[in-house]
Amino acid sequence: MSLPFKPASTPWLLAHEMRLAWRGVSAGRKSSGVGSIIAFAILGAFALAGGVFLAIATKGHEVPITPFAVIIVDMVLAVILTLMLSTTLAAAANALYERGDLDLLFSSPLSPRKVLFVRALGLAVGAGFWFVLPATLLLTPAILMGHPHWAGVFGVLVAAALAASGFGLLLAMALFALIGPRRTRTVAQVMAALIGAAFFLASQYRNLMGEKASESLFTRIALDVKDGRIQPPPFADLPLRAAVGQPIPLLILMAIGLGLFLFAARVLGRRFADAAAATQGAETRKAAKGPVRDFAAGAFRATLRKELRLISRDAALLSQVLLRVLYMVPLALVMARSAAHMPVWALAGPAAAVTFLAGQVAGSLVWITVSAEDTPDLLAISPTPIGVLNRAKLAAALIPVAGLLVAPIAVLAWYAPLAGLWTALGSGLTAWTAGLIGVWRQKPGKRADFKRRRGGSFLSALAELFIATLIGGATALAVAGLLVWAVIPLIIAGALMMALRRSDEQIAAALRAASATSN
């Protein structure tokens, strides 16, 4: 389908970027994507219903410009900005390495300035889309039913997206200058994960610091402001005033966002092009030194070793795993505190959370080792039975999970040995079931598609989540001392696993069918 703009114009180029971004999102799905459409439609309907409820509840009321409201909006905006920045930083770093695409554009008669401006604009649109879309559903009823000035929220979101993309570009370029082309992508991805988790870690700082408080940092600040113990800093009310449609604050925020964006896109544009060119050949590393390690014996060991090597060398994967580890740290500390000061049933919730997270990490790693195999044909032509390969890949995925679980479970076992045992068993079982589902229901994919690993297998993802929840629930019940009740969710999980099970022959047949389709 041709684009409805004048060729080589900025809108035409932006539409091209958006088309590629959309196809990136929808790639790997079945042609119709009916499951995804239904899921989005249900979520959209819920958001719209929430919007209608909001509109009715706020009819005739205005948002008060009080310190409490100001600080709430500021904190929400801070969370949105960190999430947007996380997205744009990773995307900006990746853009440097998309050689084929940039080479084509730079070798065309289009001005490099225009190319880079549009690419930066694409980052902003990509970052803003996922916030503007739900905001539209939530706020449109209220805007239509007496609060037209609340449309200012969209202005705030656009300003935030522009600022985040500008800042993301600046950060990517700073990393490039500081640590060079080879490490930039890895470090940027890890940084993006850290920034993405920053608001969560900040909220949990009291747990991290060992202060005995039950509320998060954000709740504490909000309460302190409400009670007048602290005052918001100057200009802190700008986001709230802009969101409720006051023109001057809205213009100021838009000017800040646009200014940062234009500075990054225009002033650093040429440097970005040079940096992109410098990434060519940047993947070359120094050869390893020292004696050559003995070769692994047999297909299982060789496959296990190969998968562990690939996992440890995958920056995008490591950043995602790191993100989940970051969520586990406060959880482990909460568990330690609860175990030391509270009755054992208080550990049920954190134990269930650890169990659930273990399944999530295992599911991701199994997807990488099993479905995202780089050379499926090499494995298919080898005489090694698929069962051996799958077992090696499953083991490779579970080993890092075991490593991640050691700390929280050891802490727990120190204070409450039985709770530690149930959590270890629950976590191991969730990881194993998630791994088995990944093996049984594998669908060939690409490593680069890691973030949307379930694009083609919605039901498997749902089953994996459900089973992890069931086992998490069983673990919580066991930790709380309700052992008999814990059996019920385990039986349901077992029945589901039996329904999902596939033999090696069935897996091989499914893979052949997928291979025939792709050829």
Binding site: G281, E283, R285, A297, T303, R305, K306, L310, D377, I381
Partner: protein, 252 residues
């Protein structure tokens, strides 16, 4: 007699059929003798790669029989796969592994003794001019270097039948010569090689026998001289003349 007297026949294909949206391979019969270099030629979309993928066990045939050194590849695929190696035009390697690590993995898949595999890997990398790159990750390699790593992978388990799909794609002149010499040495030592190529000069100079395929059917097969006489071409005409004449006749 498909499975009789098979020891002198590296590959026997009988009545092979495969249809995707349209027939890709139709009633194909083909025999490759042990110890020969067989070149399978054909225009784009002729069915060469589909045929070789079926031999390698990557694509299930709709009908037909495939025997590799007498082993029924459809009934006992593992035993058949143990005898062959397949190297497609797109190198099947891992960017994040070094050539040595890659060869370790491939050797493991074929269950080769680790010590022997390590020695063989180092020998192959040296022969292919990759010794200095043996412990550098493949992600920075040129296409030709990646092809050489993949070729080393195909040879690490010393296959009795080596199948190569466009093995010279992306190689510079020196590397192409090196690969051709390696293949010739392999055949001289009693190995069997099947290759597809668009470079007819390679087939003309290297192949013991040549098969020409179009529309999924074998049009002609034999030595260069036999193909010339089949096409009614005078001695001295090139393989290109013969190839173009036979494929044009098939399309007419």
């Amino acid at each position: 007699m498909l499975w009789g007297a098979v020891l002198t026949e590296a590959l026997v294909i009988r009545g092979l059929n495969k249809t995707f949206a349209k027939p890709a391979v139709s009633d194909l019969d083909l025999t490759v003798r042990a110890g020969e270099l067989y070149a399978l030629l054909g225009p784009n979309g002729a069915g060469k790669t589909t045929t070789l993928r079926m031999v390698a066990g990557l694509t299930q045939p709709d009908a037909g029989e495939i025997a590799i050194f007498g082993v029924d590849a459809r009934k006992d695929p593992s035993a058949a796969k143990a005898l062959l190696a397949w190297a497609p035009d797109e190198a099947m390697i891992y960017d994040k592994l070094t050539p040595l690590e890659y060869l370790e993995f491939v050797a493991g898949l074929w269950n080769i003794d680790p010590r022997a595999a390590k020695a063989k890997a180092e020998e192959l990398l040296t022969t292919l001019g990759l010794a200095s790159e043996a412990r550098r990750r493949c992600e920075g390699f040129s296409r030709g270097m990646k092809q050489k790593v993949a070729l080393a992978g195909a040879l690490i388990h010393d296959p009795k039948l080596l199948i190569l799909d466009e093995p010279l794609t992306g190689l510079d002149a020196a590397a192409a010569r090196l690969v051709k010499d390696m293949l010739q040495a392999r055949v001289d030592a009693g190995g069997t090689v099947i290759l597809t190529t668009h470079i007819l000069e390679v087939a003309e100079r290297m192949a013991d026998r040549i098969g020409i395929i179009a529309g999924g059917r074998l049009l002609a097969e034999g030595t260069l001289e036999e193909l010339r006489s089949r096409a009614g071409e005078a001695s001295g005409r090139t393989l290109e003349d013969v190839f173009l004449q036979l494929t044009a006749e098939a399309q007419a």
